[in-house]
């Protein structure tokens, strides 16, 4: 029988339990806002700005999957929606009215008469921001109502969320003239007055991405401590029991899923200008699984595990893919399997594993000892 307590419990006096999220958050803030900007060069700073976006997605996955038990395999859907909406606005804002956005110019179309009507709302900055908030939330709500109210869970939900992402990716890839196709939306130049080509402005974007990440973690500190956070864990562990206490578990899951989708969309909307390009490869099925791996490695039920794991995996992915361009994915896959096999709770389970290993070693030594001649004769 496995104990539900973590090895940290003995340090977890109520005072420590109350203080540690805040102390952890301050450490994250110091590292993200003071340390990283000073040690990272111009190239790395925009790379880490992207990692901050992925970490924000991970924070949402941590809530939906770690606390809520919903394996959100297709979180790239919301990330991609946010990213594309922002990129569409930027491409429209980059050119004078009447001129085709860059993706159409790339294929030899120079006036915007063939631009699909769904681009129109994104000419206006305020509408764009509003839609980035509303569309992913409404979509997640609709998916959630359809799924959770019917008590669909586990693998079915995971497969469904991945299938929806796949449909979204396929639609974009197949529609070159409507939305940029496989090429994506490239050459993004300006973001709300910032010059995306300038390294100073990229540094500013890094700060924005880092602050968004910090705010999302702060949101989780609040939600996890609230009665909602307790109820979410209760729903994850014994959904029927919650039902018989007078709650509809579907509503609790729905809130967590919508919040995680909105976080992913915000992150995507920042990722596109930082990357100056968005394509389906950035949030494909594979990319979405990478997000899940980061969360699993960091510790999906913890507060800081998902963002830290996401940044670590993204950095590892970058390092490995430049060292071993053809088979780096095997390393990450192997890491995922190892984590699932021996550290199901993520790296935070490491002390527990070491303790277990120590017992095993002690046990072996204890068994061996009486057999030594010195022990027998003395």
């Amino acid at each position: 029988m496995s104990s539900p307590t973590s090895p940290f419990d003995k340090f977890m006096t109520p005072a420590v339990r109350n203080a540690y999220p805040f102390v952890g958050w301050v450490i994250c803030a110091v590292v993200l806002l003071l340390v990283f900007p000073n040690i990272l060069g111009a190239v790395y700073i925009s790379q880490f700005a992207q990692y901050c976006c992925l970490a924000t997605v991970a924070v949402g996955i941590g809530m939906a999957w770690g606390r809520g038990g919903m394996l959100v395999l297709g979180q790239g859907l919301f990330f991609g929606l946010g990213a594309y909406m922002m990129a569409m606005h930027i491409q429209l804002a980059d050119v004078p009215k009447g001129t085709a956005p860059a993706y159409l110019q790339n294929v030899g179309v120079f006036d915007d008469s063939t631009l699909p009507a769904f681009w129109d709302p994104f000419r206006v900055r305020a509408t764009t921001i509003l839609l980035i908030i509303v569309i992913p939330a409404v979509l997640a709500y609709a998916i959630g109502v359809a799924v959770f109210k019917r008590k669909v869970k586990g693998a079915f939900f995971a497969i469904l969320s991945q299938a929806l992402l796949y449909a979204f990716v396929t639609y974009i890839n197949a529609n070159q003239l409507q939305i940029g196709g496989v090429t994506g939306l490239t050459g993004l130049q300006h973001f709300f007055g910032l010059d995306l080509g300038s390294s100073d402005d990229q540094k500013l974007l890094y700060y924005i991405a880092a602050i968004v990440l910090l705010v999302s973690i702060a949101l989780m500190i609040w939600l996890y401590r609230s009665r909602f956070g307790e109820l979410l864990v209760a729903v994850r562990d014994a959904e029927e029991r919650v039902r018989f206490l007078g709650y509809d578990p579907a509503n609790i899951k729905l809130i967590a899923f919508v919040v995680s989708a909105m976080l992913a969309a915000f992150a995507g909307a920042l990722y596109a200008p930082i990357n100056q390009h968005i394509g389906t490869g950035d949030f494909s099925v594979t990319a979405s699984i990478m997000m899940i791996i980061g969360v699993a490695v960091g510790g999906r039920t913890t507060l800081f595990g998902p963002p830290v794991g996401a940044i670590a995996i993204a950095y590892l992915q970058y390092k490995l893919s430049s060292e071993f361009p053809t088979f780096w994915q095997y390393f990450i896959g192997l890491l995922f399997i190892i984590v699932l096999a021996v550290l199901p709770g993520g790296i935070v389970d490491l002390p527990k594993l070491l303790k277990k290993a120590k017992y095993l070693v002690d046990d072996l030594l204890a068994k061996r000892k009486p057999a030594t001649p010195a022990e027998v004769t003395s």
Partner: protein, 276 residues
């Protein structure tokens, strides 16, 4: 079938009146026209061999399984109502295997049970201190000292009490307890029985139980189920004297057929059904 307590519920006290309840799973009839009337202050035990339909009956009344017929609880029909709405009407239940939120503390478990008495927006707030209803329920079942412990590390008996305490916090006026003393020591059984007597005066309580000693000691009345129907109903003495009950419990083993004392009926029931 006529209840020994009569057909017409007294409006002043709480009651549950089940009429012609039927449940079937893909053609298999699990509950075959059950009538049941229970009043508050009458601690009712539901007994019967494995597969008699006791848990299924509770499932149908609490909204877990679909059934037909009526289950009138203080004037409201529960059949066809969603499980969480039934709970909001003041109906609570426990499960055969103690189901508590293992990762959460005892305090958190009890606090969640108090949720239906709070406004929805309270979900977004942090808890400050221990709510009165939680403190009172923890005191009643003797869990005050372990409020900060994760529920998962509690011994089995305390988990069962935690479940009962959750029903108290929930302030259920109709409670179904599915084998609440399974796995408890003799003293724990005694305490649980006393607790049920205490809280039962103003609530309708139905207890599914296999332990005949426990039934004999604490039941005000007993309903015996067999093959999806109510076989017999009455006081402990009445049902023990009922030849149909003896047949159901004794007719199944050759050795038991020789037993002629009414008391033996109880111990055989324990021996054959105790593992469930």
């Amino acid at each position: 079938m006529t209840s020994h307590l009569g057909e017409t519920p007294i409006s002043e006290s709480g009651y549950l009146q089940v009429r012609d309840l039927r449940v079937s799973f893909d053609g298999f009839i699990a509950i075959d026209g059950v009538d049941l009337t229970v009043f508050s202050g009458d601690l009712r035990f539901l007994i019967g061999p494995n597969g008699a339909g006791k848990t299924t009956l509770v499932d149908a009344i609490t909204g877990l399984s679909k059934g037909t017929g009526t289950a009138d609880f203080n004037g409201k029909d529960l059949i066809g109502v969603k499980a969480h709405k039934i709970a909001q009407l003041g109906v609570g239940r426990t499960f055969q295997t103690a189901t508590v939120f293992e990762q959460l503390s005892v305090l958190q478990n009890l606090d969640i049970a108090a949720g239906k008495h709070r406004k929805n927006r309270a979900l977004l707030t942090w808890r400050s201190g221990i709510p009165d209803s939680v403190a009172a329920a923890a005191e009643t079942v003797g869990l005050t000292d372990v409020l900060d412990k994760p529920a998962g590390i509690l011994p089995h008996g305390q988990k069962q009490w935690l479940e009962i305490a959750m029903l108290l916090v929930q302030d259920s006026k109709l409670m179904f307890l599915d084998e609440p003393v399974a796995g408890m020591s003799a003293e724990e059984r005694e305490e649980t029985g006393q607790l049920l007597k205490r809280i039962g005066s103003e609530r309708v309580i139905v207890v599914i139980e296999h332990d005949m000693d426990f039934v004999r000691t604490f039941a005000d009345s007993v309903t015996v189920m067999h093959a999806g129907k109510v076989l017999s109903e009455g006081s402990v003495e009445q049902i023990q004297a009922d030849p149909r009950v003896q047949e159901v419990y004794l007719g199944r083993t050759a050795a038991a057929a020789e037993a002629d004392s009414v008391a033996a009926a109880g111990s055989v029931a324990v021996a054959t059904d105790g593992e469930a």
